[in-house]
């Protein structure tokens, strides 16, 4: 019987080993506490221990894009409810709540931008919107970003943070895997570069589709990058997990990412890559 779970959109927030939930501005590693403006000023990285706090999509765009260059696209796209999905709550209600909480129409923000004066398309996922889960709207906005990038001949930079496919859209959420892969195929046919920055967490359906197909894959320190998260692996296999199971550092050792780049270095690093791919 298939009792395994490989898509979890609700409970991956603290799937990194040894990190229990705390207040949003308390460092789970060294317990330092920060005011919002302190954290923001340091790119939401713990000044004491270097722990990388989650960054919201709009904050990420502000960190990466040159001031005033981001021009959002497809902001009006919204998820439909093709299955009339209702668990403990209706999917439509969850969508409305997520929009209220994040101010975003869905779990990705995409548009034209410049990074270090290099034009690009920039697509940033929002984990706070239903665990960054990928439904039809996320897939569509990513695919359209690919198409705009190919049309303009500008590289696509995508920052990922996702618990996987959005199960409230059933099989259509699974279809966002081959859909985004198709979009990457068209991007590659146009010889347009794709760079992904894998932020915490990049898992399941997003890792198993477009995120892994980038020309260059950059990871943030400590990010969980796994098809199946540690809890499910542990529950399913009863294996003893390595301490760094699924983390960026482990992925780097096993050859799956090109570089782990600290957030403070990320913008110049992307700038260098964009210059090389220009």
């Amino acid at each position: 019987m298939a009792s395994r779970i490989d898509v979890s959109i609700e409970n991956r927030r603290d799937d990194r080993p040894g990190e229990a939930a705390h207040g949003p501005n308390t460092c789970p590693r060294c317990r330092s506490h920060y005011r919002d403006d302190e954290l923001d000023a340091n790119l939401r990285v713990c000044a004491q221990c270097g722990y990388h706090f989650p960054v919201r999509a709009r904050g990420r765009i502000a960190q990466l894009a040159d001031g005033g260059t981001f021009f959002e696209q497809d902001a009006d796209l919204r998820s439909a409810d093709p299955l009339g999905f209702f668990d403990l709550k209706a999917y439509t209600d969850r969508l409305a709540e997520a929009e209220m909480a994040t101010g975003l129409g869905d779990a990705i923000v995409a548009g034209a931008a410049a990074i270090e004066r290099r034009p690009c398309e920039l697509a940033v996922m929002e984990f706070a919107f239903m665990g960054g889960s990928m439904g039809s709207t996320v897939g569509e906005k990513f695919a359209r970003a690919c198409e705009r990038a190919a049309d303009r001949g500008a590289p696509l930079v995508c920052v990922t943070a996702s618990g996987g496919a959005r199960m409230q859209e059933g099989i259509l959420s699974l279809m966002q895997l081959p859909k985004t892969v198709s979009a990457v195929d068209a991007l590659r046919e146009a010889r347009t570069p794709l760079l992904t920055v894998m932020a915490h967490p990049t898992t399941a359906g997003v890792l198993a589709s477009f995120a892994s197909l980038a020309d260059v894959i950059v990871a943030e320190p400590g990010a969980l990058l796994a098809f199946t998260g540690p809890r499910v692996v542990q529950q399913t296999t009863r294996e003893k997990l390595p301490d760094d199971f699924g983390l960026a550092e482990s992925n780097s050792r096993f050859g799956h990412v090109d570089a782990i780049v600290r957030r403070s270095d990320l913008r110049p690093y992307l700038g260098r890559l964009l210059a090389l791919f220009a």
Binding site: M1, A2, S3, R4, I5, D6, V7, S8, I9, N11, D76, L77, A80, D81, P82, L83, G84, F86, D87, L88, A90, G135, S136, T137, G139, E140, A143, A165, M167, Q168, E169, G170, I171, L172, S173, L174, M175, L177, P178, K179, V181, S182, D185, A186, A204, G205, L207, A208, S209, S212, L213, L225, F227, T228, V233, T237, E239, F245, F254, H256
Partner: protein
């Protein structure tokens, strides 16, 4: 809620459903039926698609899709194909028995075959890892599909897995990345590809080998983003609510057809494929032949682009 038969599907869904049904009635979408002559059955199936399937009906599919006597890939291979030569190994690390791949004759021509393989008894189940591939399995699949592409053999894939294996080594070897690369590979092939979900089409591990020109499902197969138990554990916080979850996320063939995810439903013998492997094989063979015939004559580059467009178009969203 939607799991409840008397509830109403949303407006958009109703619209889509009506549109699709109009098309459905004009198309030989229930593959194999025309050949086997059960036209009345086709009618009845269309009627059943028109109605929202009940929670019981959906759950029945889940049970049959996982039935321990259900035919597996190699059961079909030995009945449908001639001169099957299995090919082994990913040329890097291992041969993954959870995926079988090889060349065979089908209706007088050479084809490549890739499929998940579960095991019938305990020993074989362990050997086949319950049909849950490692990255090595997807690399083998990629290798055989590249071989087929080079030598212009059409490709059939048979999908039957609870999902890709969720283990430490599988993760370390790049499970997510290889599922992604297997899909990219299939999008790029210039030969015809027909996939059929013959049992459990479980998540990324299933779609990894189902990026085809024509995607079919057997009548009682399921195709889903997550197992009912997994969905229930997360959303209902209770794995025993699996039946409720299944009714909500609708992994059955009729819903998949309605949502435009598959192109046709392959009939099974009365009671399900497990009742008669030979009859199930004959129906599947007819369906594979019909589906292949529809795409076989197309120009390779056009077929490749049509396949890409097919998947590019998946999903439902709104622009207010």
């Amino acid at each position: 809620m939607a799991a409840d038969p008397e509830s109403k599907p949303g407006q958009i869904e109703q619209l889509r459903l009506r549109e699709r049904l109009t098309k459905l009635r004009d198309l030989p979408l229930l593959r194999g039926v025309g050949v086997s002559g059960e036209l009345g059955r086709l009618e009845r199936q269309i009627e059943r698609i028109a109605a929202e399937p009940s929670a019981d009906e959906v759950w029945h599919s889940v049970e049959l899709a996982r039935h321990q006597d259900r035919p597996y890939t190699l059961d079909y291979v030995e009945r449908i194909f001639d001169d099957f030569v299995e090919l082994h190994g990913d040329r890097a690390l291992a041969d993954d028995p959870a995926i079988v791949a090889g060349l065979a004759r089908f209706r007088g021509r050479t084809v490549a075959l890739v499929g998940h393989q579960k095991g019938r008894d305990i020993r074989e189940r362990t050997y086949r890892n319950f049909g849950m591939p490692y990255p090595e399995g997807y690399r083998k699949a990629i290798r055989i599909m590249e071989l087929a592409n080079l030598h212009r053999f059409p490709i059939f894939t048979l999908v039957d897995t609870p999902g890709a294996y969720p283990g430490v080594t599988a993760e370390q070897h790049g499970q997510g990345g290889w599922i992604a690369r297997c899909q990219l590979e299939m999008i790029g092939l210039e030969v015809p590809i027909v996939s059929c979900v013959i049992g459990e089409g479980g998540s990324g591990g299933a779609v990894a080998i189902a990026v085809a020109d024509r995607v079919l499902m057997q009548e009682n197969a399921i195709y889903s983003v997550i197992s009912p138990e997994g969905c229930a554990a997360i959303l209902w916080r209770d794995a025993s609510e699996a039946k409720k979850a299944a009714a909500a996320f609708k992994p059955d063939a009729r819903h998949c057809l309605d949502l435009g995810v598959i192109d046709g439903i392959v009939p099974e013998p009365p009671g399900g494929a497990h009742m008669d492997h030979d009859a199930a094989s004959a129906l599947l063979a007819e369906s594979l032949e019909t589906a292949l015939g529809e795409i076989d004559g197309n120009e390779p580059k056009a077929r490749r682009l049509a396949r890409r467009d097919r998947f590019r178009g998946m999903g439902v969203f709104v622009t207010p």
